[in-house]
């Protein structure tokens, strides 16, 4: 394998899916790439001044403005006649929530920018608080289970659908456990004539609590249960779905994670296990995951 464009020595946790995801994205994008990142785990673990793990040009400004900054970079590159990839890599907090206005503006204005969200389903950098991406029933430090709570009361926001609503040419979901698929999607997205969005399932060892060695297995289970369908939309049409031969029960995915352990402790939580299974079943039906 060639030298990675994300150098070793960064400070991400052992077992974190984020650096693996970024390495796969950069492998596919290649060195002729400028990366824009919002504030988050990625920024603080890779750029403690005067060190940097980035072997491509990289810029960070604020938590919620990566899309606007990338718009400025893209406009300048076009003006300079440079054919360089502009890739945003950010977590779900900036993508789903605080950066939504800027994201919508960037999509709507049609900048040729690839937005990659490494989705670990909560505000991990600040200590695992709930985000708009946190799934139903997941425990976070602001959605703790208790006598009146079974974790996050709301389902995950459908960010790919929001991206699609802007009629951008390419939208996909991907997983750190499917590197060939992820690299292919990044390459395809970079060919799109306009904005593109890829949302990558990226387990967080600190927030989800699992054994470091099971990170990839966990991400694969998310796909195999139907909870994280791998989809691809080109010009608004669903053009690719990763089939799942025999979908596994969601419990196999949930029971490996500390963030769901309360669901297995109390009998009154059984209904919610059923509701999570129903979410997976709905995906299986909607995307025809099973032949």
């Amino acid at each position: 394998m060639e030298k990675s464009l994300l150098a070793p020595g960064h400070r991400a946790c052992a077992g974190c899916a984020m650096p693996t995801t970024i390495r796969l994205v950069l492998d596919a994008a290649g060195p002729n790439t400028i990366v824009v990142s919002p504030t988050g785990c990625l920024e603080v673990t890779t750029t403690p001044f005067p060190e940097s793990a980035w072997c491509v040009p990289w810029v960070h400004s604020l938590f919620e403005n990566a899309s606007a900054v990338a718009s400025g970079v893209e406009v300048m590159l076009k003006r300079q006649g440079k054919d360089t990839n502009v890739v945003i890599i950010g977590g779900d907090g900036s993508t789903f929530d605080i950066g939504m206005g800027c994201n919508s503006g960037m999509f709507e204005r049609g900048h040729k920018v690839l937005y990659v969200c490494y989705d670990n389903e909560a505000y991990m950098n600040t200590g695992v608080q709930r985000s708009g991406s946190t799934p139903f029933c997941a425990q976070t430090t602001t959605t703790p289970p208790g006598s009146q709570s079974q974790g996050n009361p709301r389902p995950k926001k459908d960010m790919p659908a929001i991206a699609l609503a802007h009629r951008i040419p390419y939208v996909a979901t991907a997983s750190v456990a499917y590197p060939v698929d992820l690299r292919r999607k990044v390459k395809k997205a970079l060919q799109a004539n306009g904005p593109s969005y890829i949302q990558v399932n990226a387990p967080c060892i600190t927030g989800w609590t699992f054994d470091a060695g099971t990170m990839i297995e966990l991400a694969r289970l998310a796909v195999e249960t139907g909870l994280w369908p791998l989809t691809e939309y080109e010009n608004g049409e669903l053009t690719g779905v990763k089939k799942v031969r025999r979908p596994k029960p969601v419990q196999e995915y949930l029971k490996l994670q500390g963030r769901y352990k309360h669901l297995f402790k109390k009998t009154e939580c059984a209904d919610n296990l059923g509701r999570i299974q129903a979410l997976a079943d709905a995906n299986i039906a909607r995307y025809k995951l099973v032949d």
Binding site: I34, P50, C55, V56, H60, S61, V69, M76, G101, G105
Partner: protein, 397 residues
């Protein structure tokens, strides 16, 4: 100031400033509409539409995005422009700090306006004075011509290798943005000679990958701040130098950091910024005709705050009255407290009084200036409060 009336045109202030921006050749203009800034950006978009100005004009989703876009533009090696006011400037607040911390030489016209609540679209200077600590240089224009000229000067100061800091060129909303007055528009070629193309130190370049906007822990953060502070101090010299270079090229000079009017023998000295300076000058003309020794010190550069120049300019005054269109809710107002701080460790023991005036667009008249002068004279005998809301309508309180 030399007057070449023959080449002057009667235009709206916003058009004149937009024309000046055109002469500065920004690569990207990124803006969000807000009253009373709108005519500036509308004029610029028309210039782009007509091919008169070769810039990319981005219509973005908020002021927050408008300035954020320029972060990317400058990092990629371009020259950027935006304009805003009031609520828009407040929405940019987080980006303001970021731009100065990243040392990005952006120039922005602020069409000064009150900040709500209560909602108010008229002129005061609460917006930019409220952002005095964010690291941006702030230059206040007295009239449209000065706003035009300061815009060109601002790019030269901001992009100087020693400075590399963003600048707000502040002009009173409506009073200057919407007024039609005779202005000498900048000559494009002369402006190009005065302001060469932007030469960034480093840019986002895949052949020479660099990291922009890293995170700094306690072992380095202070030094980043110090360097911003140092750049502002260096700007004290640069602002004056550029004002003189501008004079050599264009024949107009307004003072660099400060400008005096009948200051030499003045006993009562009024201190102010922005368009109210014009009213004060008229009032002084009238009072001088009556033999009153009244003078004016115009503060052109509020950040950096020219402490030494202020001490020198005001050392002979018997009493100083500061007239400003802002208030620090809880402690007087920006300019007067800064001025007192500038004098505390000097030998100057001149009484200083402050007036919050013209808030939310209330007119400041020549009669008001006369009343302030009378109050300043009373202050010499200790018969005037240190700080006052001018023309407070006590009947509606």
């Amino acid at each position: 100031m030399s007057e070449k009336t023959a080449s002057k045109k009667v235009v709206e202030g916003s058009y004149a400033v937009a024309h000046a921006v055109m002469c500065c050749r920004p690569d990207v203009i990124s803006a969000y509409p807000i009253t009373p800034q709108t005519h500036i950006v509308e004029n610029l978009s028309q210039m782009v539409a007509d091919g008169e100005l070769d810039s990319e004009f981005l219509t973005v989703d908020s002021e927050f995005s408008a300035l954020s876009v320029l972060v990317g533009v400058i990092a990629a090696g371009g020259r950027g422009y935006s304009s805003t006011t009031s609520q828009g400037l407040a929405l940019m607040y987080e980006v303001l700090y970021n731009v100065s911390g990243m040392r990005l030489p952006i120039v922005m016209n602020v069409a000064n306006r009150a900040i709500g609540a209560p909602l108010n679209i008229w002129n005061d200077q609460q917006d930019s004075i409220g952002a005095r600590d964010v690291g941006w240089l702030q230059i206040y224009a007295e009239d449209v011509q000065e706003a035009v000229d300061a815009t060109l000067q601002a790019y030269k100061i901001a992009e100087d290798k020693e400075i590399r800091m963003p600048i707000m060129v502040c002009m009173d909303g409506f009073v200057l943005t919407h007024v039609y007055e005779p202005v000498e528009l900048l000559d494009k070629e002369k402006a190009r000679e005065f302001l060469p193309d932007f030469q960034p130190d480093s840019i986002l370049d895949p052949l020479h990958p660099k990291t922009f906007g890293a995170f700094a822990d306690p072992s380095t953060f202070t030094e980043f701040r110090y360097q911003q502070f140092e750049a502002q101090q260096k700007a004290l010299v640069k602002i004056e130098k550029v004002a003189r270079e501008f004079e050599a090229a264009f024949g107009r000079y307004y003072g660099g950091l400060l400008d005096g009017y009948f200051l030499d023998d003045a006993e009562v000295v009024l201190v102010a910024m922005g368009s109210v300076v014009g009213t004060i000058k008229d009032a002084i003309d009238a009072m001088r005709a009556e033999g009153k020794k009244v003078g004016l010190l115009k503060v052109r550069s509020y950040r950096p705050f020219p402490v030494q120049a202020l001490r020198k300019a005001l050392k002979d005054a018997s009493v100083i009255a500061v007239i400003e269109k802002d208030v620090s809710i809880g402690c007087e107002a920006g300019l007067v407290t800064d001025l007192k701080a500038a004098f505390y460790n000097s030998n100057i023991r001149t009484p200083i009084i402050g007036f919050a005036a013209g808030l939310g667009g209330r007119d400041i008249t020549i009669k008001d200036i006369r009343s302030i002068v009378a109050k300043a004279e009373a202050a010499r005998k200790g018969e005037q409060p240190e700080f006052e809301f001018l023309n407070l309508r006590t009947e509606i309180l």
